[in-house]
Each structure stands twice: as C-alpha cells, then as structure tokens.
C-alpha cells in the first residue's frame, strides 16, 4: 500500500488533473519558522461537486502566526474550501499554492466514542503518513505523540480511553494528532461546537499558543464574536464575500451578504445574530 504523504501527493496530482486550475506544493518549512512567512495562497480558486461549482472566486494569502476565522452559512463553502486545501477536491479554476503540509482537526462528534482506543492511540494515527507502510509506531513515534499530548496539556491522560475524555479534551487530542504531523497549516472544523465555557477557553488558549508558535490556523466557525478576536476573517457564501482584518471586515452589510436570511440584525448598529445548525457544505 503506498501511503506517501497524502496532501503533497494528492495536491500535486490535482495540479496535473485540474481543469484549468492549478495546485502547487512548494518548499517545506522547518519547525520554528519566522512569524509572517507565507504558508498558503489561493488566487481565484473555484471548486465543486459533479458539474456544479460550490465555491468560486476565493483568493487570499495566509501567513505563519495568523488565526483566520472562516464564516459562512451552512452550504456556504467552508467544508469545500477545506477539502480543496486538503487536496480531496480538485481546483477547477484559479491557483492554490501550499508552502507547507496541511493537517485537519475534525469535529470530535465524527469520531467513534465507543471505539476502544486511548488518547495516545489517536495521536499515533497522525504518524501513519510519515513511516513506511509495513512498520508500526516505534519508540520515536511514541515519544513524539507524547510530546504532542504534552503540548496540548494532556500528557497525563495519554492512556485514557478517547471516549472517556470530555469534549474539550477530545478536541485537544485531535489537535495533538495534527501537531504530530509537523504541519504548519492547520484546519479546524468548528472546534468549539458542543464545548462548555471552560473547555472553550482552554481551546482558545491553545489556538493562541499554536499561532504564536508559527502555525497558520484556518478555523471554520459560526461565532462572529469570536472571529472578531482573531487576526483575519474570511467570509464565504458560495464565493468569497470578504477577507481581511475583522474590525474592518465584519460590518453588518458584509455579514448580511455572507449569511443572507440566516442573519438577524439586532437594533440599528452592527449587532447581529447568526442562526445556524451544524450541517456541512
């Protein structure tokens, strides 16, 4: 079984197979990169399923140290964007350039909580792509996985069953699994869904630490208030509505264009509420 690095190989293949679109994989960053280094570029990217485009006109640059909120209604293209960056969907138009490896932190509710695996087992899954297909996890991988668990504050829970952990702890285990891959580009799929206040604060702190350590974080979220506290915001609604500094970007008009009928204006100012469920699109 050939399981070479999936993002690299898949993305390169997509670059060749894309109908008019280009995906590139450039240099691989070393750990401890300087903040501000360009890690991800999209220029007029369009992608979709079957014949239809689910997302178009997406163009932005992401740099080391940035926390980028991705806002949009269900079906607005957040998951499609992630699938494009991960190399699962072809770039049909435009250009995508990855300057480092990509890892995704999925929602914990997609994992099987009844499955008898420990937190360490889950983190070790992140080392599969980096070792020969015939070899299991050795001492080096275990040390690396424990270090990743330490980085997310869960070293003492390494042997605990994944299903026995709290929602916030499970989310942090999945972050550790992404970290063990040495990827600088991290995609978070609605990581705060279902977390209590204390767990959300711990995860927020971890996100800040990861950004400070030189990762770029793309975080799909429905929480406009939270997005205002991060470095950039990308608004999607089948296309790119806006990208930029949250204070300048998150106006009531932009949010209206992003969420349409899913947005409630509260009063006369920029106060808004987003009505959402958690289907993906």
């Amino acid at each position: 079984m050939s399981d070479d690095h999936p993002q690299m190989s898949t993305t390169e293949a997509i670059g060749a197979a894309a109908t008019g679109g280009v995906a590139e994989v450039c240099g691989h960053a070393a750990a401890g990169d300087e903040p501000g280094r360009l890690l991800l570029e999209l220029d007029g990217v369009a992608a979709g399923y079957d014949q239809a485009l689910a997302l178009r006109d997406v163009g932005f640059r992401a740099h080391a140290g940035e926390r980028i909120a991705i806002l949009g209604p269900n079906g607005g293209g957040k998951t499609t964007l992630f699938r494009v960056v991960l190399g699962e969907l072809a770039v049909r138009e435009g250009r995508l350039a990855l300057h480092d490896e990509v890892a995704v932190v999925p929602q914990t509710e997609r994992s099987r909580l009844d499955f008898p695996v420990s937190a360490l087992d889950v983190v070790l899954m992140g080392t599969i792509a980096h070792r020969p297909w015939w070899r299991g996890a050795g001492r080096e991988e275990r040390a690396k996985a424990r270090a990743a668990l330490r980085a997310v504050g869960l070293e003492d829970r390494a042997d605990a069953g994944f299903g026995a952990l709290s929602g916030g702890q499970r989310q942090r285990v999945l972050v550790a699994r992404a970290l063990v891959r040495d990827s600088r580009i991290l995609l978070f799929d609605e990581p705060f869904t279902g977390l209590d206040t204390a767990s959300s604060e711990r995860l927020q702190q971890l996100i800040d630490e990861l950004a400070a350590a030189g990762h770029v974080l793309l975080i799909a979220t429905h929480d406009v208030g939270q997005a205002r506290g991060w470095d950039r915001v990308l608004c999607l609604n089948g296309r790119q509505v806006a990208f930029g500094d949250p204070a300048a970007t998150l106006t009531a008009d932009t949010l209206q264009a992003t969420y349409g009928h899913d947005l409630l204006r509260l009063g006369d100012g920029d106060a808004v509420a987003v009505i959402c469920d958690h289907r993906h699109g």
């Binding site: 999936p6 499955f115 008898p116 420990s118």
Partner: protein
C-alpha cells in the same frame, strides 16, 4: 475422583483425529478472534456472514473439479461482485436488495451442487464442515493461512485502527479507506477458507463474529478485546469438541452453538452490569 476427571478431560484427545481437531480449533480461534475484532469494529458482521455464502458455489465447483479451494472461492466472489454490480444498475432494485438476492442465490446454487446425488463424498463437508476428518496436510494449510492473516493484520493494524475510528479523517492522515476495506474483505475470504473445511460454510460467521462481539462488550482496549476474543473462540471451540465427543452431535454445529450461547450469556451479563451501574432516578 481426580483420575475420573482426568480421563473425562484427556480421553477424547488420545486419538490423532481429535489432536488435529484441537490444533485446528486453536488456529481458527486465533485467526477468527483477531480478524473478528476488526469485522466488529468496522461493522462488517453482515459481510462476514454473507461473504462465505457468496464464495460457496466457487468452493464446491473447485472441489468437484479438483482445483484449489482458494481459486474457487475467488471465482465465487468475483461472480457475486459482478452480479451485485449488474443488479444495482436496475433502477427498481435498491442496493440492499441486490446484495441479499445475489448472496442467497449464490448460496442456493452452492447447496444445490454440494447436495447433488452425483457429488463425490466430501463435497458436502464444505457446507457442514468436518473438523474430525482433517489430515495433517489440512492442518498445515490452515496454519499457513493463519500465519498470512496474522502478518497482514499486524501490518494493517494502524490503518485498520484509523479507518474504524473516523473514516473521513483517516483519508487526511494518509490512509486509503477503500483499500483498507478491500484488504479486510480479502482477509475475511482467507479466514473463510481456513474455517470452511473444519466448521463448514454455514458456521463460519459464528466463529468470525460471535467471539469478537462478546469480547467487544468487555474489552477496554483493542489488544485486550483481541485477547478476550481469541480466548472465547478457543474455549468455545474446545467446549464444542467435548460436546460433540460426548453427546455425539455434529462437531461444527456444536462449536457454533456453544460460541453463540456464550455470546448470549456475555451480552446478558453486560446488560445486567449496565443496569447495575446506571444511577438511580432522583426521588
């Protein structure tokens, strides 16, 4: 007293056929217990039941013409896959229906061939098994196939784990879930070949699914679950041999019956334990 007990325990294994049967049961327990865990983890129990049925006419055909069973089983699977694919193209038939119809038809065809008056002796054993009729060569073949299953499971372990845990995320971790599925189904087919001569096509699923399903109720980790599954499979196999020896019942059916009975008891115990641990309602 101890002498009588010793006789009861040891007497059955004084004969060569029972010694070979014991070795075979241990091999089946190891291969079936380990593979069964992945079948249960991947929720493939129905496939594990259906796959041997799909292979059956191929196995019987191979036995009739003297070809290797492996080849016959592979042809049976290929024909079943093509038939399902063809049936799925008919708009009025949904996928579940097409799979059920094809597997049942294949099994019916196999039974028809196996029970035909013209079939040579021994072909019927593919249906009901004959663990007491195994030669040393049969046991050696089973040992070789068991070794193949064990090595494959060891190599595939990380990918099987990642796919069972979160199929979508596994894809982003460098795993190809489709390929893992294919390899797992191939291993189930190999395990069927190990089991079919001893237990018969009808009872393969009992060995592959029931011990792992029972272990799943109590195992706290993958290695523990696998160890319990192998223990249940081997213990039930040996208990089935004793039952068959002393009650003069069909061996394959005895082993399958004991295995399923143990699963029912374990499932009941797990249910009782869950009820006991449930917090009392507030007054």
């Amino acid at each position: 007293m101890s002498g009588v007990l010793s006789n009861v325990v040891l007497d059955p294994f004084a004969q060569g056929i029972m010694q070979r049967a014991l070795v075979e049961i241990v091999l089946l327990g190891i291969a079936g217990g380990l593979l069964g865990c992945w079948i249960v983890f991947h929720r493939l129990s129905y496939s594990a039941e259906a796959l041997p049925h799909a292979m059956f006419p191929g196995l019987v055909g191979a036995a009739l013409i003297g070809a290797p069973l492996v080849l016959g089983g592979a042809v049976g699977l290929l024909v079943a896959a093509l038939a399902i694919s063809a049936a799925a193209r008919i708009p009025t038939i949904d996928r579940d229906t097409s799979i059920s119809v094809v597997f049942t038809s294949m099994f019916g065809l196999g039974v028809l061939l196996a029970l035909s008056p013209d079939s040579p002796p021994g072909v019927q054993e593919l249906l009901f098994g004959d663990v007491l009729g195994l030669t040393a060569g049969d046991v050696a073949t089973a040992a070789g196939l068991t070794a193949v299953v064990l090595i494959a499971l060891r190599v595939l372990h990380p990918r099987l784990l990642a796919t069972a845990f979160d199929r979508d995320a596994a894809r982003t971790l460098g795993v190809r879930p489709g390929l893992v599925d294919l390899l797992l189904v191939t291993l189930i087919a190999v395990a069927t070949l190990i089991c079919v001569q001893a237990l018969g096509n009808l009872f393969v699923a009992a060995t592959l699914v029931a011990p792992a399903a029972g272990a799943r109720l109590f195992g706290r980790g993958v290695p523990t679950t696998m160890a319990i599954a192998c223990g249940i499979a081997i213990a039930c196999g040996i208990a089935g041999l004793y039952l068959s020896y002393y009650a003069h019942t069909a061996t394959g059916a005895s082993i399958a019956g004991v295995t399923v009975a143990v699963y029912v008891v374990l499932a009941g115990a797990a249910r009782l334990a869950a009820l006991r641990d449930r917090p009392l309602p507030a007054r």
